[in-house]
Symmetry: C2
Subunit: 112 residues, 2 copies
């Protein structure tokens, strides 16, 4: 549910805006040049995924970002850290090897 909600770039942009503080639907709609119903639809998806919570005030209903699911996404992706570090190390070793070979390759013609 979290990943599906995050799949839309507008919804990720809404979260990026909400990290600065609570916003009304009108405030959220402004930078995206979207209609209020279109923004409301995105907010419903975010709310269902637990990524935002909405206030009870009938008139304003401010949106608030929720940290939990974002922390879960970070933990999930961090589970693959060993993978990308291993790949990076292998690349690093390969580049060092190339560098050494180039240095060696250059010195020999000059020396002899």
């Amino acid at each position: 549910m979290t990943f599906a909600a995050l799949a839309d770039p507008t919804r990720r942009a809404i979260l990026a805006k909400l990290v600065t503080g609570e916003c009304s639907v009108t405030e959220l709609a402004a930078p995206f040049e979207m209609s209020l119903p279109a923004v409301s639809k995105h907010l419903r998806v975010l709310e269902r995924a637990g990524l935002i919570a909405r206030g009870r005030e009938a008139q304003w209903r401010p949106c608030r970002i929720e940290a939990g699911p974002l922390k879960d996404v970070a933990s999930w992706a961090e589970g693959y850290r060993a993978l990308w570090e291993r790949r990076f190390d292998r690349l690093e070793t390969y580049l060092q090897q190339l560098k050494k070979e180039r240095k060696h390759g250059r010195k020999q013609p000059r020396g002899k």
Copy 2:
């Protein structure tokens, strides 16, 4: 594209399996009790998102997990770390406050 590909639990399970090493489609299909075409469809989504790469061997076409997009997801979610740490700190302060009040509330009736 990455988030949409990750939205399906089967595709996340496929990645979890691939982190242990390259696999053929048949090897991937076995634990999920899925048909080969169904697995192939998931693999195409993962491949389009750059989350896996497939070998060129016509017969075997082994699947390999790609680290890049997973690292990007981790970096993206880590961008919200300040948010959940702030929320956690606030909760911690609140709990400490409650504890202090409880301790204080208990001692007074006993003392006087």
